[in-house]
């Protein structure tokens, strides 16, 4: 077999998101506003794995300081359009990703032609002031296009995902075992009944799959206990004794496995709480021509659960490895797989009925997509992000911020400072930038200018706190104000690269719809080397 070059090149990532994730990545069109050091690092980590296309929108001309912190510029780039210069260097990383540049001031573009951004599957901004940011966020929100807002300042990194809704089927949980030990389906029961432990020779006895052992003894237990499973810990211990009594010698690892799974076997199989919540969602109730595939299948699964599923989700059909001889294991595996197939087929019929009712053809949703949904049904996720409008204007998280701010170790302090810094920018058209921190021994002279810079920024912080009705000013804020003044909107290559990694990872999760993205803000503190995530 010859493995094609592309598969070889992407081998190490295909093991994480498979061909389906790769296809999603390769069809994504990402837009970066401002080719800053951080912006380029984000793109680097998206171009390398093969994003479909990237477009850099930037009206700036390259300066020496850009070359100093951006790997995708050289001294010859100085004086040229930054959008074009970085695009050319980024393009070199991977011929599969198509690079475009647009040398236009993004602030003006957002003001005059916001619909320009509707052509992309995701938009990332770095270094964009508050006003145009709010407008862009609004535009993209209405079009349901994800926006990622990124800031780096000194040792601090911040990013925020804005998107009305994100649904994930392939969350890649680490443990996907669904064996239905408490509620064996008929085919499984029949299979268990074919075993007669007494007549087995020692090798066969040591190779009975633990699933069969547990089901056998659970059946016996239920007969003796009015059809109930062991529920208290005393009962579970008693049940363990029962299992133990069937063991012939200490070497029987299958009995070890059975005993280790008693607790799980006695837990009732049911629809997980978070999936029930998803089913209760209004999007699941009213399916229209507008509904996404996710909600159509979710509705079909919900209906399956309340009908032929008998209160349970479709079976995933995976059987973990266990001590067993090959033929028994494979036979049992086939029984689970067969049941999973039947469940999927029932769900598929329901999906087709729903599609029919909204005037869509059956092929509108592929069988693979239905399969995948059924196999991951216990682990599906819906994330509803808050809009930037809510965060900044209509419903700021006043109480939470006030509470979080009291902890001097909490990274929320950087959020307050970034917001204050943005206000500083609104009125001064520059970011705070001065040495304002000096040793207390008076060996250094403190300039008026430095004092002013500190006090001005502090005024914006105070204003924000007042708006958020935070009355007790946390003392530790002062040091962070000094640190922001010191950083003077500098962008350090290390922090830029770190944020580049984090943001690109979340972008990959958003476009592949695999794994669970963060909700909604992450702040990294490179002084303490800690990060926090907040819902703001």
């Amino acid at each position: 077999m010859i493995i094609d070059k592309k598969t070889q090149k992407y081998d190490r990532q295909l093991r994480l998101w498979q061909a389906s994730g790769q296809t999603a990545l390769e069809t994504a069109k990402v837009c970066l506003i401002n080719g800053t050091a951080t912006g380029c690092e984000i793109l680097k980590d998206l171009v390398l794995p093969g994003i479909g296309s990237f477009t850099v929108v930037d009206g700036k001309i390259v300066e020496g300081s850009d070359v100093g912190n951006t790997f995708f510029l050289v001294s010859d780039s100085i004086g040229t359009n930054r959008a074009q210069a970085v695009t050319e260097f980024l393009q070199e990383l991977n011929e599969d990703a198509k690079g475009f540049h647009f040398s236009e001031d993004p602030v003006a573009l957002i003001e005059n032609q916001p619909e320009y951004f509707l052509q992309f599957s995701i938009v990332i901004t770095t270094d964009l002031p508050e006003k145009p940011l709010l407008k862009l966020a609004d535009t993209l929100w209405n079009a349901k296009i994800p926006l990622v807002i990124v800031r780096t300042i000194g040792f601090i990194g911040y990013f925020r995902i804005v998107l009305p809704e994100h649904t994930v089927v392939e969350t890649h949980p680490e443990n996907v075992i669904d064996l239905r030990l408490d509620v064996p389906f008929p085919a499984l029961e029949q299979y268990v009944n074919t075993f007669n432990f007494e007549t087995l020779d020692s090798m066969d006895h040591a190779h009975v799959p633990y699933v069969v052992i547990l089901l056998k003894y659970l059946k016996q237990w239920k007969q003796d206990h009015d059809g109930k499973l062991p529920s208290t810990s005393a009962e579970r211990n008693e049940f363990k004794q029962l299992v133990q009594s069937g063991r012939r010698n200490v070497d029987e690892e299958n009995f070890d496995e059975a005993l280790a799974s008693v607790w799980k076997a006695c837990a009732a199989t049911k629809v997980p709480h978070h999936v029930e919540e998803i089913f209760k969602n209004s999007s699941c109730d009213s399916i229209t021509i507008e509904s996404s595939n996710f909600w159509i299948i979710a509705r079909a699964v919900r209906d399956f659960v309340s009908n032929e599923g008998l209160g349970l989700l479709p079976l995933a059909g995976n059987v973990p490895d266990m001590k067993a001889d090959t033929s028994n294991y494979v036979a049992m595996q086939n029984i689970y797989r067969q049941k999973a197939k039947e469940d999927i087929s029932a769900v598929r019929t329901r999906v087709h009925d729903i599609l029919n009712s909204i005037g869509r053809p059956a092929e509108f949703i592929s069988d693979d997509e239905i399969d995948s949904f059924c196999k991951h049904a216990s682990f599906i996720q819906v994330i509803r992000y808050r809009s930037l409008q809510e965060e900044y204007i209509t419903e700021p998280k006043k109480l939470d911020i006030g509470r979080w701010l009291q902890d001097p170790q909490a990274n929320i302090v950087h959020y307050v400072l970034i917001r204050a810094m943005d206000r500083f920018y609104e009125s001064h058209n520059r970011y705070p930038d001065a040495a304002t921190y000096f040793l207390e021994d008076d060996t250094e002279e403190v300039s008026e200018e430095a004092k002013n810079e500190f006090n001005t920024l502090k005024t914006y912080v105070d204003n924000l706190l007042r708006e958020w009705e935070i009355t007790n000013y946390p003392e530790h804020l002062d040091n962070h104000i000094h640190e922001i003044c010191r950083a003077g909107s500098s962008e350090l290559a290390n922090i830029a690269s770190l944020l580049g990694g984090m943001v690109s990872q979340e972008v990959i999760k958003l476009v592949t719809k695999q794994y669970i993205p963060m909700n909604n803000t992450v702040i990294f503190d490179g002084v303490r080397s800690t990060s926090s995530s907040y819902i703001l």
Partner: protein, 177 residues
């Protein structure tokens, strides 16, 4: 805290070099010097300065394999004790848990190995294989079936194989020297 970094220019004080003794080696040294070897086991080192490669012989004084001298090679890599020692039987023997190529089926040599185990644990495990061969998790299926179905016959076949005779047409090494 570490304040300012600079290279110490004069390294003459560092003339006397310690040899590169790896962490694996120190750990093996500790394991070896603390072994309590029973009379039924004997260890030898073809290269005395190489502690990572050695031979072990087991002379069971009871059970099916009484009277035989069974030889094993131990190869320990520099990832010890993160990786288990590689143990092989260097003779062709008739045993349910050792195949004709010398592979040994002992859980702590593979799936159940952990760094807190040591060479002593492995030796105990090997010794146990000769006292209580496990017929239910076979590596040599024929031998295991023999043991499961007809202990007398198995005992006879073991004795034959130890003398270097054929069992079911397969020749074995004489282990009675």
């Amino acid at each position: 805290m570490i304040k300012i970094w600079s290279i110490k220019k004069d390294n003459s004080a560092a003339e006397k070099k310690k040899p590169k003794v790896s962490a694996a080696q120190i750990r093996v040294q500790k394991d070896l010097t603390e072994l309590a070897l029973p009379d039924t086991m004997h260890m030898s080192f073809p290269d005395e300065s190489d502690l990572l490669n050695f031979n072990l012989s087991i002379t069971p004084d009871e059970g099916f394999y009484r009277g035989g001298v069974f030889r094993f090679t131990f190869n320990i890599n520099n990832n010890y004790p993160h990786d288990p020692p590689k143990v092989r039987c260097s003779q062709k023997i008739y045993h349910p848990n050792i195949d004709l190529e010398g592979n040994v089926c002992l859980n702590i040599l593979r799936e159940d190995w952990k760094p807190v185990l040591n060479l002593n644990s492995v030796l105990v495990g090997l010794q146990y294989l000769f006292l209580e061969p496990n017929a239910d998790d076979p590596l040599n299926k024929d031998a295991a079936e023999d043991l499961r179905t007809n202990r007398k016959n198995f005992e006879y076949n073991v004795k034959q194989s130890m003398r270097g005779k054929d069992v079911k047409g397969v020749p074995f090494d004489n282990v009675l020297m």
